[in-house]
């Protein structure tokens, strides 16, 4: 049984795309936020907590996206990813290192064949304010630098002014630019920048638009705009990927990014993944955390569970 009672629209025509997106069920703000608050009260203890901490660590895109980034900073972050906790070799590694495109090759070199992915932001991140050729060149450059995953931003201006077809076509074009000469393709994460879309209705529409255009992941935020990821927004996007799979059979990943700093936060997100999208999304193939500080707190809590005592922030490395 399909759960979204809409046929997929033709995508050649902005009016048809608009009708489709505006025909999606609305989102009630109060109800959505209440549902997220309800899931936040789940109490995760003992064995579940241990499992969730390791799962969360394995889902992290360990991120540095600063103007001040250097090869040294990126190598340092990669070293952290390779050995997150020198005191405990059973500690899982994060899923990826996330950097600006020009530093992708540094990360690639540092990570080698460790299995940790290199994610690069592209398409004039974070604003997305550049011409298409620039965005595509940005993308190709990062892929050529060894990025396994491209985190693109949508044109929020186009989206907010109703030019959905333009947003759609840009995603399609960036997806095409993710292709490597050998025919394989970097994974595409589409950043909606939900803090600028402002309404939950917009978030649902942008999610469906990105999925329809071929994004492999939908991602909340750049981390440069407040609010970044919130639990209600992530919940809504998890509903979208759940509904999309029921509609098309295609599974899409979700990545909240920005503002998730504590183990307690991460637990809430994992509870939400589990209860909204379902267990199929509980791996790093389908759910990621875009974060920098989160890993440190997860490691602290992991040590606490193992030893029964808190160590302190000086007992995990800062990067």
């Amino acid at each position: 049984m399909t759960t979204v009672a809409h046929d997929l629209p033709p995508v050649s025509d902005n009016a048809a795309l608009t009708r489709w997106l505006h025909g999606l069920p609305g989102v009630d703000q109060v109800g959505l936020e209440a549902r997220a608050a309800g899931l936040s009260t789940r109490s995760i203890k003992t064995t579940s907590k241990a499992w969730a901490i390791d799962t969360a660590i394995s889902m992290i895109d360990l991120t540095t996206l600063e103007g001040a980034d250097t090869p040294g900073k990126v190598r340092s972050l990669c070293a952290k990813a390779l050995v997150p906790d020198p005191s405990d070799p059973t500690t899982p590694r994060p899923a990826a290192i996330c950097v600006y495109g020009d530093l992708a090759h540094v990360a690639r070199e540092a990570l080698g064949d460790s299995g940790i992915h290199v994610a690069a932001v592209a398409t004039a991140f974070p604003s997305g304010r550049a011409s298409m050729p620039v965005k595509l060149a940005d993308t190709r450059d990062a892929v050529a630098g060894g990025a396994d995953e491209i985190d693109m931003v949508i044109d929020r201006g186009a989206f907010l002014s109703g030019r959905y077809l333009q947003v759609f076509e840009e995603i399609v074009a960036v997806k095409e630019a993710c292709r490597r000469p050998d025919g394989t393709s970097a994974h595409l994460k589409v950043i909606l920048e939900t803090g600028e879309l402002a309404t939950y209705d917009n978030v649902r529409r942008a999610s469906f638009l990105a999925m329809r255009a071929g994004g492999d992941f939908i991602k909340t935020s750049t981390g440069k705009v407040a609010p970044a990821a919130t639990l209600p927004v992530t919940l809504l996007m998890l509903e979208a990927v759940r509904d999309w799979r029921e509609l098309t059979g295609v599974q899409i990943g979700v990545k909240p990014a920005g503002g998730i700093r504590t183990t307690k936060d991460a637990m809430k997100y994992l509870v939400t993944v589990s209860e909204i999208a379902g267990p199929d999304w509980l791996t790093s193939d389908w759910f990621r955390f875009g974060a920098s500080g989160l890993l440190g707190d997860l490691l602290l809590q992991r040590q606490k569970l193992a030893t029964g005592a808190y160590s302190g922030s000086d007992y995990v490395s800062i990067d």
Binding site: M1, D28, V30, G31, L32, S43, W51, V271, S274, L282
Partner: protein
């Protein structure tokens, strides 16, 4: 495939001390009743929690006398500001001891600790705070000239929200200057008896609140007592009618908050995921033991299949089991009697030809349990569409137009509450105008607040509780008495 199994997260019961036996709380003291003591059990385990006194007719008479004396000599003579001080004190004590009350409520009632902790107790305290504020402002509440208390009020409350219903009854009564004889339900007396301790702790003058435990006979003794000025009752329509008949022709006044068969109405333009949450909250909150539960889902035919699919998918994640576990969503049915009633009604629904569905869920072997259940293919003629089941059972009915939705929603003997789900504001307003229900929720359900009057149309009773309107039942104005 990985699964996120939540490890047990039980709330500790060490915070509460349960005595082996409890007496009646009359004139500020506990003393034994003269009826036959009875056990109160934990419905989740069938463990006996305590033995409780049964108040005989003579005991009720003592309680009424104590209430009368307290009324004449102390409480009605206090200034509103002073009454308010006591109520504020009670409210604060309830907040301070909220965890203790929540644990005791869950043990005695079977409701999930999540709900007693996050809903029942915060709301109970809020009712005392709210009414404490009214105590010295009754003259300005628009109730009429010189509002005076009614006198001694007999209050009989149900087992579904023992502490919250106590607060709904006691707080406005005391705020308006009345004294109280309250009878909690026989299956859930413990939090009321713990509340008696709060009254002592707050130095409430003896006799202002009296708590007598027992079953129907004790309630009848209160209703029939000649020196009771008003009856406030929450419970079944059947008993409500009995009370109304009993007091007919006497000077007694009554407010009755009775049964319901609320329609939760979902239009095709609703925010569907949130509507699903509202349906779940409507019927599975407190195991459906809610007089205003959204026990009928009226869904527009064009989205019926989609909504039922979404609802079933959602119900698969509902966690049924140990009410003391912080992750439990659906707890125990309150009593063997109620479980039998729910079981019988579900059998009736099946016999009537409705299609029954429940998610896969393992129910504990001891205690009283019923899986969340939905019926599709229900029509207005079915008993499961007309009669209150008071359990986690939802009847799903379709409609085609707003007018048909209104007609079906109003087509029961009840009229307590209703819910409307649409993203279209004008439709909400039009529907709310047409629905014969005391509470109409728009794009939400089962939201309660002390500032908002609550009460029914038709066989759901009369009188309002909460808000300014709720004060009306506890004052008399002008010369009449």
């Amino acid at each position: 495939m990985p699964t996120f199994d939540y490890a047990p997260a039980p709330e500790s019961r060490s915070v509460v001390t349960i005595a082996n036996s409890y007496g009646l709380f009359i004139n500020g003291e506990f003393n034994d009743g003269h009826g036959t003591p009875f056990d109160t059990i934990n419905p989740a385990t069938e463990e006996v929690l305590a033995q409780v006194s049964e108040a005989s007719t003579a005991d009720v008479d003592r309680a009424v006398k104590a209430a009368r004396t307290a009324y004449e000599t102390v409480w009605s003579r206090l200034s509103g500001a002073d009454r308010g001080k006591y109520l504020f004190r009670i409210a604060r004590l309830l907040q301070e001891r909220a965890r203790e009350f929540a644990v005791l409520e869950t043990l005695d009632n079977g409701k999930p600790i999540k709900e007693s902790r996050d809903v029942d107790l915060p709301l109970a305290a809020a009712h005392f705070f709210y009414h404490a504020g009214w105590a010295d402002k009754l003259e300005y509440a628009g109730l009429g000239p010189a509002p005076r208390p009614v006198g001694v009020v007999g209050q009989i409350i149900p087992w579904n929200f023992p502490m919250l219903m106590l607060a709904w009854k006691v707080a406005p009564a005391l705020a308006c200057g009345n004294t109280v004889v309250l009878k909690p339900a026989e299956t859930t007396p413990l939090t009321a008896l713990l509340f008696a301790e709060i009254c002592q702790q707050a130095d409430l003058p003896p006799g202002v609140v009296n708590i007598v435990t027992g079953a129907g006979a004790t309630g009848q003794a209160i209703v029939e007592h000649p020196d009771v000025d008003k009856i406030a009752f929450t419970g079944s329509t059947e008993v409500g009618k009995l009370i109304a008949r009993t007091i007919a022709g006497t000077r007694k006044r009554a407010t009755l908050e009775l049964g319901g068969k609320a329609a939760n109405i979902v239009f095709d333009d609703a925010a569907m995921d949130q509507a699903v949450e509202g349906i779940v909250r409507g019927i599975f909150f407190n195991q459906g033991h809610v007089c205003c539960a959204g026990s009928r889902l009226l869904v527009q035919e064009s989205v019926h299949d989609d909504l039922v699919h979404r609802l079933q998918r959602r119900l698969a994640t509902i966690r049924v089991g140990d009410p003391m576990d912080k992750n439990t969503d659906l707890g125990a049915i309150n009593s063997a009697t109620q479980l039998a009633r729910v079981t019988d009604m579900v059998a009736v629904g099946e016999a009537e030809g409705a299609h029954r569905w429940s998610p896969v869920c393992e129910l504990p072997s001891r205690g009283f349990w019923f899986a969340p259940t939905i019926f599709t293919g229900v029509s207005q003629a079915h008993r499961v569409a007309q009669e209150e089941i008071f359990g986690p059972v939802l009847s799903i009915i379709t409609f085609r137009t707003p007018a048909e939705a209104v007609a079906k929603a109003n087509n029961t003997p009840y009229g307590l509450s209703a819910g409307i789900w649409t993203e279209k504001g004008s439709k909400i307003l039009w529907m709310a105008d047409q629905l014969r229900a005391g509470v109409v929720w728009a794009n939400t359900f089962n939201q309660f607040d002390p500032t908002s009057p609550f009460g029914g149309f038709k066989e759901s009773g009369y009188g309002r509780e909460g808000g300014r309107h709720g004060l009306e039942g506890y004052v008399t104005t002008g010369g009449a008495r």
